[in-house]
Symmetry: C2
Subunit: 295 residues, 2 copies
């Protein structure tokens, strides 16, 4: 079993070590470092955890890191004003507004107002379009890009392979498809979702399955063929009285029944999860190099 | 056979009649009409034919229609200057630069400089992204949108059906996938391309196949299951000495072997072809209504 695991944590650490080295060498050359600004509206505990870990990681890499916490009742105008300030701040190369914002905030409009060159989350429509058309100057969203990086660094052949993506969210499913069909990756891609007639039949045809539906242990062993590579993007909490916290974390894949059939599989936690933040740091470095025209 | 044909010409004429009526009623209300500008660089005969037919159609619908022909040796700056002028022209709601431009022109940069609100071809990355994410304010590219409209007006069920798209071009294949996975259309979508391992096996699983590879009669009867709906985007010239012109037009689908198995099929010519210009006119009307905030 052990040698089937795609250890996201290990791969993310590798990437982070590479980034640290590159940042340090670019700093020596240019005297400059990448700057990442994270905007948090309100103090939602889960969002705080995410934001703090991004800040901590950016600091540990030697980035200039800015955390801006706005009051929960901030107006749209106030958030837009902060975004505008960050757009114009030459020390900031990456901007992200932690999702979800409170209900009075129009998130789509906020994203539209982030300078696409600093949109390291890759959610601005123009970045979505650039990645989809295979242009080189977009930012792929961090989670699907992390999945692709897991495949690459695990030496999984993607060319001519059938990748089945379960889920069509704008954050994972669609951009994952967008990356998998590009030249160089060259997978045949099927995108499944809640309206798919026979999900098992689709997944059983996959060489690579990427699960991003947000339903705990939704994909079971009977739906997967022998030898499939399984990437599980889901992170779900399910009640578990045997655990001290009263819950356990699990993916969208039923690990117990799927792992025996998979050739490779990401565990949850410790699979895709750690990659998202690594790719955010990677996108921030990329933004820095593009804006400063170095590296 | 006759009742299997999806007659694009007839459907396009229906759409054009609807547009004509709407334009006339909006003109009565507002005193304004949609304005379409088509920019042609050089005098390539095929491009001239396309541009002239767009101009003629726009005129026949009562649009304000502008054709700008620039010299073949125009500089990038000269083309950008024309685009900028059209961006700022309040009588113009839709702008397109006929493809392909001469080699000294960077087409991608030209498209990036068209105001996305006037990008009725739907090729600006921000429109590509808006359509992919399912936002309502993009412009779908005309040909794939025409294919979807053919399916709708032929009462083909798409929800939960398996659509197999053959080809991953930015003009047809990718945006076609983008439209077919959206909520409301709800197809399970497979995107195939030159690297796909067993194309026949993929297509045989399709309820709907959309062929856009640009290879004459590439998809043959043995690759298609009984009852499939077949949309053929290809328009290819093949030598044919029995024809007065010395060639005939054919699609990417081998009509003779596929049609007997298809439940519905688009002929070439007269299938998808006439839809592209109809959807261009439709996008121009849409741009007009958005910019003028009417209708």
């Amino acid at each position: 079993m052990e040698d089937k695991l795609i250890r996201g944590k290990v791969i993310a650490d590798e990437i982070i070590a590479e980034l640290r080295e590159e940042v340090s060498s670019l700093k020596e050359k240019s005297g400059k470092v990448p700057g990442l600004a994270v905007v948090l509206i309100g103090e939602d505990p889960a969002s705080q955890v995410y934001v703090n870990s991004k800040e901590k990681m950016a600091n540990s890499l030697g980035y200039h890191s800015v955390k801006i916490v706005l009051p929960l009742d901030s107006s749209q105008e106030a958030v837009l004003a902060v975004v505008e300030e960050l757009n114009n701040d030459p020390a900031i190369h990456g901007i992200l507004v932690q999702s979800p914002p409170p209900p009075q905030i129009d998130e789509e409009q906020i994203i539209l107002n982030i300078n696409p060159q600093k949109d390291v989350d890759g959610f601005h429509p123009s970045n979505v379009g650039l990645v989809f058309t295979g242009a080189k100057d977009g930012f792929p969203p961090c989670t699907p890009w992390g999945c692709l990086e897991l495949l690459k660094r695990s030496k999984v052949e993607t060319k001519g392979k059938h990748a089945v993506i379960v889920g069509r969210s704008n954050i994972v499913g669609k951009p994952m498809a967008s990356l998998m069909i590009q030249k160089g990756v060259d997978s045949t891609v099927t995108i499944c979702h809640s309206r798919t007639a026979d999900l098992g039949a689709e997944i059983r045809r996959a060489d690579i399955v990427i699960a991003a539906v947000g339903i705990p242990e939704f994909i079971t062993g009977d739906m997967v063929s022998e030898g499939t590579v399984v990437i599980d993007v889901g992170i779900n909490r399910v009640d578990d009285e045997t655990r001290p916290r009263g819950y356990r974390l699990c993916g969208d894949v039923d690990f117990e029944s799927v792992a025996p059939k998979a050739s490779l599989i990401t565990p949850v936690p410790g699979g895709v999860g750690p990659m998202t933040i690594a790719m955010l740091m990677s996108n921030t470095l990329l933004a820095f190099k593009r804006i400063e025209n170095i590296g």
